[in-house]
């Protein structure tokens, strides 16, 4: 949902901390997830720097567990290493940070591919206690392979996730990771990954705790479905999502003729190009699995869109 703010994050209600926020009567630091964002339209980065300084001044950030960074002003001229730098430079002020949502810009504020990122490895190396991370936007994004022993949930939301990021995820050690979602996107917006890049994830070797897997928003969703159909990790999953992409009857057929999926609690295929007949077949074939086949697009359409691109 890239046009509405998250109302909760990391199990906590989100509290908006903007330049307009009343600084008296703030909630207890650990009781909310704090979203720092500029409410007004600004073209400079300074207001966000001031907002962050005000946050440090008025909130006992040592007790803050969950944090979101939203609109920091210019997205195109200021890459995300600047706001990320504010946080990593103040790392000693956040000894208990366990959840971070990076770049929660709404579509009406900035299209997802217009959020300029940079290397986000320092987020993970600085805050070893992170359990939940969401990153919105893939442009300019890079990541080195990680060892993140505490990380339980990781989601990359993007209209084009660089292949290097997908490969870094595959090469990382995530012994505690329970949920992994990758919005792979399309090549036009920097989505340069391939099915081969997903192999280390699908093998599950470095993901012993994984229970929920989303390989979504892809222009080659059928080939992902075919790869998933024979992937070792699937037997351990409770939830699988191949949603938001260009899934057609071909990919669905591959899923149905692959390994059994009846153990899943949820199979999310929403936003797809399957026929009515295939939608019915897949739902009937998996009784006891909550199969989401909402948001059908015209299977006859020559152009197949992913849900989030621009």
């Amino acid at each position: 949902m890239i046009n509405q703010f998250a109302e909760s994050f990391a199990g906590l209600p989100v509290f908006d901390f903007t330049e307009e926020t009343e600084l008296t009567g703030l909630p207890e630091p650990e009781s909310v997830a704090w979203r720092l964002r500029i409410a007004d339209y600004v073209e400079e980065f300074e207001p966000f720097q001031k907002l962050f300084a005000s946050f440090l001044e008025h909130v006992d950030t040592a007790r803050v567990g969950a944090l979101l960074f939203g609109n920091w002003g210019p997205t195109y001229d200021v890459a995300s290493n600047k706001p990320l730098g504010l946080l990593t430079d103040a790392a000693e002020r956040f000894p208990n940070l366990r959840a971070f949502f990076f770049a929660e810009f709404l579509q009406e504020e900035a299209e997802i591919s217009w959020i300029m990122h940079d290397d986000i490895t320092p987020l993970f190396t600085t805050f070893g206690g992170l359990e939940e991370v969401v990153v919105r936007g893939g442009s300019g994004l890079s990541l080195e392979p990680l060892k993140a022993p505490s990380l339980k949930s990781l989601r990359f939301e993007s209209g084009g996730l660089p292949g290097g990021v997908v490969r870094a995820v595959g090469a990382s050690d995530f012994p505690a990771l329970e949920s992994l979602e990758l919005w792979l996107g399309v090549e036009d917006y920097g989505g340069t990954s391939s099915v081969e890049d997903l192999a280390p994830i699908l093998s599950g070797e470095r993901l012993p705790a994984l229970r929920e897997l989303g390989l979504q928003n892809s222009a080659f969703q059928d080939r992902i479905a075919a790869a998933v159909a024979g992937a070792p990790i699937v037997a351990r999953l409770e939830a699988l999502s191949l949603s938001m992409g260009s899934l057609t009857d071909e990919g669905a057929e591959a899923l149905l003729s692959g390994q059994p999926l009846g153990h899943l609690a949820r199979l999310d295929l929403h936003h797809h190009y399957m026929s009515d007949a295939m939608m019915e077949r897949i739902v009937k074939a998996l009784p006891g699995v909550a199969v989401n086949v909402d948001d059908q697009n015209d299977p006859e359409d020559d152009w197949r869109y992913v849900e989030v691109a621009e």
Binding site: M1, N3, Q4, F5, D16, A39, Y41, E43, P74, T75, Y76, D77, L106, Q107, E108, E109, A110, E111, W114, M116, E310
Partner: protein
């Protein structure tokens, strides 16, 4: 009380209004066709005027814009000049609408200026732009990366462009499309990323006048952005619909849908929203009815008036907001009631 409607005989607006007159026990209103007003034919008027839209009448449209395909874009300046001449012909008659107000509402630059001067929240405007090159210069000067470009005299999102540009990238979303004949209004919002194509469109629209505003980031509900059309009758916001879309434009003919008004009411500061609409309407004090397009900011905070529409009441089968004087009644009933209150007459039931 006898009323005369300036409109298009037989169209929905006129029929719906006549039905409301009948419900109030009033005689069937006389109809003066816009084509007669615009064509300089003699006019027969009885009682007070209600001025409605000239839309949907091919002959009136041809008089307003000159001959040509109704879907084509452009010709707004000529349309507006002819429309003003028509309004001038109506000026001598006592009216529930105000021809001066209508003239301002059909010029987005003048309307924006009037609202801003009255302290009604509106997105900041970029000032006059004469073409694409000047548009980009002004955007660079002001730091507005994201703007709405609107033909000054357009309606129904015709020619409106949601434009974003930064770092050498550009993207324009618009219902305008081009064929061998030129630009026309399609029923689909497309995205253009080729600067040359976008420049062609802006330069095609610019001679008829452009109004450019900063893009006000809109709130969303259930995954779709929304805005509100609020009808204000005699100063009171009486009817509202939420319009939702996945595209930046929410117009129903462009794939917008009616949204869940109760959910919107629960999510926003409703009384404050209605107050903004009433203040916008108060900028047009001699107009019994205006339709205000209200934007709600992301996070359900902040409001901005996108437009005030002189003929913004075509909302059939919509009943008035609970607690208002129009509760349970449609927009036309509400206006007839306001007319009767204003003229101090009591309808004779019959």
């Amino acid at each position: 009380m006898r009323l005369t409607v300036v409109g298009t005989p037989g169209d929905r607006r006129v029929t719906l209004f006549a039905a409301a007159c009948a419900r109030a026990g009033l005689a069937a209103p006389l109809v003066v066709p816009w084509r007669d007003v615009l064509g300089g034919r003699p006019l027969t008027v009885e009682g007070m005027l209600r001025i409605d839209s000239p839309g949907e009448d091919a002959e009136a449209n041809a008089l307003l814009r000159g001959p040509g395909d109704a879907a084509r874009i452009g010709g707004g300046a000529r349309w507006y000049r002819t429309f003003l001449d028509g309004l001038d012909r109506l000026r001598p008659y006592p009216s529930f609408a105000d021809v001066g107000d209508i003239a301002v509402m059909f010029d987005k630059r003048a309307s924006h200026a009037r609202l801003a001067a009255a302290g009604v929240p509106v997105p900041p405007a970029l000032g006059p732009v004469g073409g694409y090159a000047e548009l980009r210069e002004r955007m660079a000067e002001t730091g507005f990366h994201r703007v709405f470009v609107k033909p000054a005299h357009g309606s129904s999102a015709s020619g409106v462009i949601a434009l974003q540009a930064a770092g050498g990238r550009i993207r324009a979303q618009t219902s305008a499309a081009r064929d061998a004949e030129g630009w026309y209004n399609s029923l689909k919002v497309r995205a253009y990323t080729d600067e040359h194509e976008i420049a062609l469109l802006v330069d095609a629209l610019a001679p008829d006048g452009l109004h450019v505003e900063r893009w006000f980031p809109k709130a969303a509900l259930a995954g779709r952005v929304f805005d509100l059309r609020v009808v204000v009758v005699a100063g009171e916001p009486t009817h509202a619909v939420a319009r939702t879309s996945r595209a930046p434009m929410t117009n129903l003919h462009l794939g917008g849908q009616r949204g869940d008004l109760a959910a919107v009411r629960a999510a926003i500061a409703w009384d404050a929203a209605m107050d903004v609409c009433a203040r916008a309407a108060a900028c047009f004090p001699n107009s019994t009815m205006v339709g205000v397009d209200l934007l709600v900011g992301v996070g359900m905070r902040g409001f901005a008036v996108a437009e005030v529409n002189a003929f913004g009441d075509l909302l059939p089968n919509l009943t008035g907001l609970p607690g208002t004087s129009a509760e349970g009644r449609d927009v036309y009933d509400a206006q007839v009631a306001a007319y009767l209150r204003t003229s101090g007459e009591v309808a004779v039931q019959g």
